[in-house]
Amino acid sequence: MEAVYVDQHYDLVVECRNGSRKAHNDLYKLYSRAMFNIAMRILNNEDEAADVLQEAFIDAFGRIGDFRQETTFGLWMKQIVINKSISQLRKRRMELISIDDTDVEAIPDTEIPDYEEMELQVRQVRAAIQQLPDGYRVVLTLYLLEGYDHEEISHILRISENTSRTQFMRARRKLAEILRTRGISYN
């Protein structure tokens, strides 16, 4: 079974291949904001995210001849942005906590659902995510916001699937904690 992606912007991609500067700009306008936010969530630093975005677009436009219709331009671009962001993060010597030996089952689930009664607001959750340590933030956003599963995350971050799961659970718990200390609960 082959997935058929309907890429609404494929025409633009074709024009880009022919070197149209306007098509480059159109694709940039369409995707730069979403891509910038992906980089921001991973890097948590505007300057670095801007550099990554610039590099990613230059790279994508340079390699656009390789782009095949097996995926959409958006997904392709997203991969480039995520890969560049992760390697930028590695340059900062982020230690993606190697806790492969920790068993997922060992993390008790009962401790967590305190925030069942929280009044959740985007602004506050956003701020709390930004407060997470790098390793937690990356796994949590890749899983919840970029929609990757743990297998995919394990490939992107070069960690085991189990680590990805554990990391995600810890991140989720930590996030709830941060929200709780900020008094975001529903009373």
């Binding site: 940039y28 730069s32 936010n37 230059i58």
Partner: protein, 189 residues
């Protein structure tokens, strides 16, 4: 395991895109794209130039080599004919015979270069000494008062070279035999 926090984040994905990229970023990208385009076309031209230049150089080099070899061959032939066959056709034949023999034996000798580099260099230096005196005789020949004697000396020189090479090859043969025996012995042990 889906809980409210997870669902909340998933449901509000779009609103998590809170940041705007810097306004000037596109200009930087466009500038870089422009530079890349200029560079790539520039390297294209350069490459072509290099290719053409090297092609011309090759042609020139080939012509020079062909001319050189032709000229040398021509002069060599002229000299050779003046040298020996004019003086004594029989001796000329002998000379050709010995030179080809020496050549064959030298190639044979060359095979030990890898195995016995020291031995080879000693052997070939002896031959080189002989060859040097041969070359001297040869260059003296046109001005020699007694050309026939000189040619005879040259032939003698070639005979000695052949003999020397024979002895050297014998020595190598013996060394090889000793080696083989040793191998056999160690195998038997």
């Amino acid at each position: 395991m889906k809980d409210r926090l997870e669902n909340f984040i998933r449901d509000n994905k779009k609103e998590f895109d809170q940041f705007d990229p810097p306004a000037a970023l596109w200009d930087k990208i466009e500038q870089q794209l422009e530079e890349k385009r200029i560079n790539s076309s520039a390297t294209g031209i350069k490459k072509e130039k290099v290719v053409r230049l090297s092609f011309l150089l090759k042609m020139a080099a080939t012509i020079v080599v062909v001319l050189g070899v032709g000229l040398w061959g021509y002069q060599y032939q002229k000299k050779e004919s003046a040298d020996l066959s004019n003086i004594d056709p029989k001796l000329a034949k002998q000379q050709v015979h010995y030179t080809s023999l020496i050549e064959a034996k030298q190639t044979e000798l060359k095979q030990i270069e890898k195995e016995e580099p020291q031995l080879y260099s000693e052997f070939s230096s002896e031959i080189r000494k002989m060859d040097a005196s041969y070359q001297k005789l040869k260059s003296d020949l046109p001005a020699s008062p007694n050309q026939e004697e000189t040619v005879k000396a040259m032939i003698r020189n070639l005979q000695i070279q052949t003999e020397l090479l024979n002895q050297q090859l014998n020595i190598i043969q013996q060394i090889n035999n000793v080696k083989k025996e040793q191998k056999h012995e160690t195998q038997q042990i």
